[in-house]
């Protein structure tokens, strides 16, 4: 059974600091997705990582994927308050070669950035 684990689950940061969120998964997958959710809102797609070694950056966020280690990281650089949200990683379940969607989500990391 595919398990997706994130850590930490809660993260309180000061503005201007750097930190990394980790996402481990238990079975083979060549792709991984990061989403952001604001309280009471939908899930917004942040990054789509489609191969081993993939790295994507958007503003202060950078995501990478190591399929051999079954690990993805979401790195936050010089955090600002606007980044406060819950971040989810998701991995496709093994059927259909991973291209079918059917994403299994981690529990989420609730990030709070304080002045």
């Amino acid at each position: 059974e595919l398990k997706v684990e994130q850590n930490p689950l809660f993260l309180s940061m000061q503005e201007g600091k750097n930190y990394t969120i980790y996402c481990n998964y238990s079975t083979t997958s060549d792709r991984l997705y990061w989403y952001r959710q604001d309280p009471g809102k939908s899930l917004e797609s942040l990054f789509v990582l489609l191969s081993n070694g993939a790295v994507k950056q958007e503003g202060r966020l950078m995501a990478s994927l190591d399929t051999k280690a079954r690990l993805s990281t979401l790195h936050i650089t010089a955090a600002v308050h606007d980044l406060s949200a819950t971040y989810f990683c998701a991995v496709p379940r093994g059927d259909y070669g991973g291209s079918q969607g059917n994403l299994i989500f981690g529990k989420g990391t609730k990030l709070s950035v304080k002045p």
């Binding site: 792709r31 939908s42 291209s99 969607g101 059917n102």
Partner: protein, 118 residues
């Protein structure tokens, strides 16, 4: 502006009542997913469809939940009878099928239907 549309956004009902949630996927997407989000369980996949055919509904309690796609523009999730433990946010998501040249496996989520069963 292509987006997944869900109705109702909020629903409060009493135990035993029937609840129907609706979803309009993004035009052209042929995979549709229903997820449930709770504090305790996080995001759970309930069911999904490809080209309107159900592919997997193993995450759904079959005795009270049913999911259908009457046509390509409408997916429904029905709970009958509803129970307090069904209180959650129900998200619909859609994506390109694996044969689509645009497919990356990425899912696009609706705003969710927040259900409260008293």
């Amino acid at each position: 502006d292509a987006r997944v549309t869900q109705t109702p956004r909020h629903k409060v009902t009493e135990m035993g009542q029937e609840v129907t949630m609706r979803c309009q996927p993004i035009l052209g997407h042929n995979t549709v997913f229903w997820y449930r989000q709770t504090m305790m369980q996080g995001l759970e996949l309930l069911a999904y469809f490809r080209n309107r055919a159900p592919l997997d509904d193993s995450g759904m309690p079959k005795d009270r939940f049913s999911a259908e796609m009457p046509d390509a523009t409408l997916a429904t999730l029905k709970i009958q009878p509803s129970e307090p433990r069904d209180s959650a946010v129900y998200f619909c998501a859609s994506g390109w099928g694996r044969d689509s040249p645009w497919n990356t496996g990425e899912l696009f989520f609706g705003e969710g239907s927040r259900l409260t069963v008293l």
